[in-house]
């Protein structure tokens, strides 16, 4: 495949920013850190570049959001699986947070981002896969910018929280 131009990084943000960085709660999302992680990384990255949210900025109508996560919301999925296995009802909020797109809609409506919404599970290194997908979206022409969000939740084998998210706002790079 012909080489696609490598995107240029406009801004970047990682959560947590330090050892005691509290994850901001996200109203409407319960139990799991997945959606708050996505929102925290997105807000940090977009604030660094745009400064202020805007639901009507024409320049953001072609900003895509791309979520890269190996398992998506594994905490919510485990919660639902347990409830179902025990024959219990699942709370309706879990329906609304059942897909990674949901929190993306939260981010896009707040910031006015009208480009494609894409979620992938990496087949290799998450950043490499995310940059490749972002490059394809930019070169193919449905987006002028891509907000790439890499998110993973706690590893149950690890000591302490390993929740982490990394957001990068990208634009089309120079043709090689």
């Amino acid at each position: 495949m012909r080489t696609v131009p490598q995107p240029v990084i406009l801004s970047e943000y990682r959560w947590p920013t330090g050892p005691d960085d509290p994850l901001p709660a996200l109203p409407g999302y319960v139990v799991s850190s997945f959606s708050p992680l996505v929102a925290a990384a997105a807000d940090g990255c977009l604030t660094a570049h745009y400064a202020e949210p805007s639901a009507s900025a024409a320049s953001r109508q072609r900003t895509a959001v791309l979520v890269v996560s190996r398992g998506n919301d594994v905490v919510s999925a485990a919660h639902v699986r347990d409830k179902v296995a025990r024959g219990r009802r699942v709370g309706p909020l879990f329906f609304f947070q059942s897909a990674p797109n949901s929190v993306v809609g939260q981010v896009t409506s707040h910031w006015g981002l009208g480009g494609p919404v894409v979620c992938i599970s990496p087949v290799g290194d998450p950043l490499t896969d995310g940059m490749a997908e972002a490059a394809l979206l930019l070169e193919d022409g449905d987006a002028d910018e891509v907000l790439l969000i890499l998110v993973e939740q706690d590893d149950p084998e690890a000591t302490g929280s390993t929740d982490r998210a990394h957001a990068l706002l990208l634009s089309r790079g120079p043709t090689p």
């Binding site: 495949m1 012909r2 696609v4 409407g28 639901a55 953001r60 109508q61 895509a64 959001v65 979520v67 996560s69 190996r70 398992g71 998506n72 594994v74 999925a77 639902v80 699986r81 409830k83 179902v84 024959g87 219990r88 009802r89 699942v90 709370g91 309706p92 879990f94 329906f95 609304f96 059942s98 897909a99 990674p100 797109n101 949901s102 929190v103 993306v104 809609g105 896009t108 409506s109 910031w111 006015g112 981002l113 009208g114 480009g115 494609p116 919404v117 894409v118 979620c119 992938i120 599970s121 990496p122 087949v123 896969d129 997908e133 394809l136 979206l137 070169e139 193919d140 022409g141 449905d142």
Partner: protein, 363 residues
């Protein structure tokens, strides 16, 4: 927007509650014979609704995906060497083992490996198709796209708790009195190939993907924008890539899930994008017969669109009770219509305001 390379749909494999293989899909879609019935695959005694479209004898998701991929590659007549140069794009519900599943499927079929795994809910498969076309435009000869969802207890419980499921046992797209969606099994695979590569091996696909678009609503986490803004821009992008007028479109396979807000928003999107052509293009949603296959819906519905064009007949919109003033469209009722033009759109939308449009042409 990048220059578009013609992309042929060289082969396909498909399964749904309507049956295995292309023929039962087309037969049921044309006659409007819905496959909904009581679920016996798992316990639904604690749920509000106990109905879905499930196939009686079905293997595991991985086994059924493998079979569909094999069928698509065989239908396309791919040699071992041609398979070895073709990556797999897979659309499934996200879970930690999704990429391993893709790698296993690619290996079993002798493909070049897992290229991407799409987990973005109900636009997963259609996004994969758009990306495959973009990859072919950048020099790949062919890409295999596969997608799968088999009705299972966890997603069913979620849709039930969200009161998204229809309570009257039917899906009624664009209809008055529609109550919601019903889930359905869906497994599909297609071989997408540059028409130049197909010609080089003596093939001429009967259908081509000539346009695609992806755009967001920027409106709400789980409700569609009432004005259909994102879906309209996705359709605009597909038409622009194909350099096609809205008046040339002869059929729309709608996203229409039978959900009150969603179908109304889709109708608004069609009027916003297509103008006066919106009310004249024959339209139906085949979800009314096979149900909503979630991550696989975009590919299952693309396959049905392709089969319809090849058969020269357009599927009916099953479950219709009567007109809804918020959906002023030319809904195909009662009996299949003859194909009027070679061009058809397949539309999909998802949570988060995600929208895709795929535009195909019968050659």
């Amino acid at each position: 927007m990048a220059e578009v390379t013609p992309v042929g749909i060289a082969g396909l494999g498909v399964l749904s509650a309507l049956g295995r293989g292309p023929e039962p899909q087309l037969a049921a879609a044309l006659s409007g014979a819905a496959a909904f019935g009581p679920i016996d695959r798992f316990d639904v005694s604690g749920r509000r609704v106990g109905i879905a479209a499930t196939l009686g004898q079905v293997g595991t998701l991985t086994a059924e995906l493998a079979e569909a991929i094999e069928a698509a590659c065989a239908d396309a007549g791919l040699t071992a060497g041609e398979r070895a140069g073709s990556p797999l794009l897979l659309a499934v519900h996200g879970h930690p083992g999704a990429s391993d599943c893709a790698a296993e499927l690619a290996d079993r079929a002798g493909l070049a490996g897992a290229g991407r795994v799409y987990t973005g809910a109900c636009v997963s498969a259609s996004t994969a198709v758009a990306d495959a076309a973009a990859m072919i435009g950048r020099g790949l000869d062919r890409v295999v796209v596969a997608a799968g969802y088999l009705v299972e207890p966890d997603q069913f419980a979620l849709f039930d708790s969200g009161q998204a499921l229809s309570g009257d046992g039917a899906v009624r797209p664009f209809s008055s009195g529609r109550q919601g969606l019903l889930l359905g099994d869906g497994i599909a695979a297609v071989v997408l190939e540059s028409t130049a590569a197909a010609a080089a091996r003596g093939h001429r696909p009967a259908t081509e993907l000539i346009g695609w678009g992806r755009a967001g609503d920027a409106y709400h986490p789980c409700q569609p924008a009432p004005d259909g803004r994102g879906l309209a821009r996705a359709i605009d992008a597909a038409l622009q890539r194909a350099d096609l007028s809205p008046h040339a479109i002869g059929y729309i396979n709608a996203n229409a899930t039978g959900t009150p807000l969603s179908d109304t928003a889709e109708a608004a999107a069609l009027h916003r994008s297509l103008g006066d052509a919106a009310a004249r293009v024959p339209i139906s949603s085949t979800k009314a017969v096979h149900g909503h296959a979630l991550e696989a819906s975009g590919l299952l519905e693309l396959v049905l669109t392709v089969l319809s064009l090849q058969a020269g007949k357009l599927p009916v919109n099953a479950g219709y009770l009567g007109p809804d003033d918020s959906c002023e469209l030319d809904v195909i009722l009662a009996s299949p219509r003859p194909v009027g033009t070679p061009y058809a759109l397949s539309l999909n939308s998802a949570f988060g305001g995600a929208n895709t449009a795929l535009l195909v042409r019968a050659t």
